[in-house]
């Protein structure tokens, strides 16, 4: 699936970023292939906001469509914020 389909609060693992330029730009900000990110907000028909640790990054809808992710099986409770622990397992949901 692609990042634009992610739901709010879902933890996903980035599988591929197709475009080379977008990939390098994303790596600079901390999103690279294999990385776990939390989808922390989705603006309807607008950008997707992902969180990695304390950093929030907004990605335009068209861009999110180009980022392949796979959902990480974390109990999808009504958690506002999932904090990633050091070993990259999603824990500490409210």
């Amino acid at each position: 699936m692609n990042l634009d389909k992610a739901k709010k609060g879902q933890v996903v693992k980035v599988t591929n970023i197709d475009n080379k330029n977008i990939r390098t730009k994303a790596i600079r900000l901390g999103i690279s292939e294999g990385e776990m990110i939390t989808c922390c907000q989705v603006i309807p028909a607008g950008p997707v906001i992902v969180c990695k640790r304390r950093q929030q990054i907004a990605l335009g809808r068209g861009l999110a469509k180009k980022i392949g992710v796979e959902p990480v099986p974390v109990p999808l409770r009504q958690c506002e914020k999932c904090v990633l622990s050091e070993n990259n397992n999603a824990t500490a949901c409210k």
């Binding site: 475009n19 080379k20 330029n21 977008i22 990939r23 390098t24 730009k25 994303a26 790596i27 600079r28 900000l29 901390g30 690279s32 292939e33 990385e35 922390c40 907000q41 603006i43 309807p44 028909a45 607008g46 950008p47 906001i49 990695k52 640790r53 304390r54 950093q55 929030q56 990054i57 907004a58 990605l59 335009g60 809808r61 068209g62 861009l63 180009k66 506002e80 914020k81 904090v83 622990s85 050091e86 500490a92 949901c93 409210k94």
Partner: protein
């Protein structure tokens, strides 16, 4: 700058929003000078500390030359005797990427771990010793926003023994070495070639594909490892985030974010359009300048010089340097510009602007722009010239062209808006709404067409969100004043020059001649009195100047309305034109300028003809329908010819 100072140059560098300027101020106390970097308009500030020149730079994410700023800063870094890399303790994963790049570049680096207090509030524990060890350079915690707690940093800087880090990734080192050996590039050059600098690569005739993304990925993994080893997140579900972080979250929630956005925009209008543009300016311009200053100066000058003489006209005539110029600059521009920059600096320091960009990303995508373009577009309501410079934050040439075109065409600057609101206020709310619909439709229509048909790509939105912070009063005030001063200083010269030119035209009778030449357009096509040529002529110099000129002509309401619309769209002022030439080049400027000219007069003329044909009480209603219909038509046509979506 003395030679000795040149030898000792400390450059502050860091990602946006990490507190570079705060460290700069804490070190040097004062901005010695803020100047544009030679040949560019990248703002570089210099100060002095302990016989060293300290340079503050705009925030960048790297030195790969992805933007003009990155090039400028890269050169500064390479010539520095020491680089202070300011990083935000909360966002180490992002910030250390640049740190690694600096270390790899082989320049002496001291890392200032800033905002350590914010990290503590968020229950992040950072092991400075581990960080220092894995980076191989000194790491010093600072809380620069309090302008204290930089003593440790100062002590370290006095130390002056900065060894280069030897913590360099093996793979990167190997690649750099191979480039150095095979092509004879210097170490730093080799690094930047790896970083994707095509100019350097071609100058060394390197044809192999440089795997920039592999290189980046390795650096990313390295940074992630460092962060994993040195940062511990102690946050538990029981601990709440600080209020600022929570409000930041709420603002991103569409249910809260959109209403807040509307309130902010409405507040902006209330403050700028109503309070300042009408009430305050009404007092400063109408009462202080109009009733007291102008009569006084006329009497005073009249004692020595005949006001009807040539010099008298230049000084205190209709376009007098001592009358009109002073009134406009002090009575009108000063309160407006001051107010606008105050509000803008507040929003900026609060960290609200990127959130605005996110909320509006969808809307601006119709114009072929991403949400970030909203920042120059909003800035345009303050000063179009400055906003055109700000379009640099947009990544592609195409986006810059669209944004600058729209700014130059349909965004009235604060000074012009003052006159527009004043004229519209006298006409009643019906005209105000109609005016907004017309201008907005033209903005949307032209933007849509540009977005669809202009070649190139639009870069997608990819921004990181700074934390919401309570702005510091002195910081906001200082910024406001600096910007206002810069703006007025420039505007005053142009106003004086413009006023002198107009007075000369008047004295020599050239003004009359131009009025006659322009008659077919002004009288025939737009249905305005021939004196309106003055206003257009003034509009060449500054748009608001033109609108002001329109105010002094008496004509029927509908004519006034036509003039208002035409002048809003009319060509950008001299300052903006110069910035457009500088930013986009002569070629673009030569296309943009006449296009705007044409659009303004076409729209004004059509409006005039429609007003002639349809008269009566339903006229405005009819016009709105026609405008909206035309807009829909444009949108529909664009949809059919939709370009395939392309990113980079």
């Amino acid at each position: 700058m003395s030679n000795q100072a040149c030898n000792n140059k400390i450059v502050l560098i860091g990602n946006p929003n990490v507190g570079k300027s705060a460290i700069f101020t804490a070190l040097t106390g004062e901005y010695r000078e803020i100047s544009n970097f030679p040949g560019t308009t990248v703002k570089i500030s210099e100060g002095e500390w302990n016989a060293s020149v300290v340079v503050d730079t705009p925030g960048v994410y790297g030195l790969s030359g992805m933007s003009q700023e990155e090039y400028v800063i890269r050169d500064l870094v390479l010539n520095a005797s020491l680089v202070i890399n300011v990083v935000n303790a909360v966002n180490l994963e992002r910030d250390l990427f640049l740190t690694r790049q600096l270390i790899d570049a082989g320049v002496p680096v001291v890392v200032a771990l800033n905002c350590i207090d914010e990290a503590e509030k968020l229950n992040l524990e950072i092991d400075t010793a581990v960080l220092q060890e894995s980076l191989g350079v000194p790491v010093i915690s600072t809380v620069a926003i309090e302008y204290k707690e930089v003593n440790e940093l100062k002590e370290k800087l006095l130390d002056k023994n900065f060894n280069l880090s030897n913590c360099i990734n093996e793979y990167i080192n190997k690649e750099i070495k191979s480039l150095m050996e095979n092509y004879g590039a210097s170490r730093q050059e080799a690094l930047f070639i790896l970083d994707g600098n095509k100019d350097l690569a071609s100058s060394y005739k390197i044809n192999d594909e440089i795997k920039k993304d592999t290189f980046y990925q390795i650096r990313r993994n390295e940074v992630n490892e460092i962060v994993n080893n040195s940062v511990q997140d102690k946050k538990t579900s029981l601990v709440k985030d600080p209020l600022g972080a929570r409000i930041g979250e709420w603002l991103l929630n569409p249910l809260i974010g959109f209403p807040v956005l509307i309130i902010v925009l409405w507040g902006l209008y209330e403050i700028m359009g109503v309070l300042i543009a009408q009430k305050i300016v009404g007092f400063t311009e109408g009462v202080v300048m109009g009733q007291y200053y102008e009569p006084a100066i006329r009497t005073l000058i009249g004692n020595y010089i005949d006001p009807a003489s040539a010099i008298g006209t230049l000084l205190v005539g209709q376009f007098g340097v001592l009358t009109m110029t002073v009134t406009y600059v002090i009575g009108l521009l000063l309160p407006l510009v001051l107010g606008f920059f105050l509000v803008l600096s507040l929003l900026e320091d609060l960290g609200y602007l990127p959130r605005m960009a996110i909320m509006l990303d969808r809307a601006t995508s119709y114009l072929g722009l991403n949400g970030q373009a909203i920042i120059p577009l909003v800035l345009g309501f303050g000063c179009v010239t400055m906003a055109c410079i700000t379009t640099r934050i947009l990544e592609s040439q195409r986006e810059r062209r669209i944004a600058i075109f729209l700014l130059a065409l349909a965004v009235p600057c604060s000074a012009q808006m003052a006159f527009i609101t004043a004229i519209l206020a006298s006409m009643g709310p019906k005209y105000l709404i109609f005016y907004i619909i017309i201008i907005f439709s033209i903005l949307l229509g032209v933007g849509t067409l540009l977005g669809r048909f202009l070649p190139g790509y639009t870069s997608p939105l990819m921004i990181d969100l700074p934390a919401l912070r309570l702005p510091r009063v002195e910081n906001v005030l200082k910024k406001t004043w600096d910007r206002t001063y810069d703006f007025l200083k420039e505007a005053a010269y142009i106003f004086i020059g413009g006023a002198l030119l107009l007075s000369l035209f008047k004295i020599t009778g050239l003004l009359e001649a131009i009025q006659v030449i322009m008659q077919p357009v002004t009288v025939g096509w737009l249905g305005l009195p021939k004196e309106s040529a003055n206003a257009f002529l003034m509009g060449f110099i500054r748009r608001d100047f033109g609108t002001a000129g329109m105010m002094s002509l008496s004509m029927p309401m509908l004519q006034q309305f036509v003039a208002l619309v035409t002048l809003t769209l009319f060509v950008p002022c001299i300052a903006t034109t110069m910035v457009i030439i500088k930013e986009l080049g002569w070629k673009d400027a030569f296309v943009i300028w006449p296009s705007i000219f044409l659009i303004a007069f076409t729209a004004g003329g059509i409006l005039n003809k429609l007003l002639e044909i349809f008269q009566g009480p339903w006229i405005l209603f009819l016009m709105v329908i026609i405008v909206v219909f035309t807009l829909m038509l444009i949108l529909a046509i664009s949809r059919i010819w939709k370009q395939s979506e392309s990113y980079l």
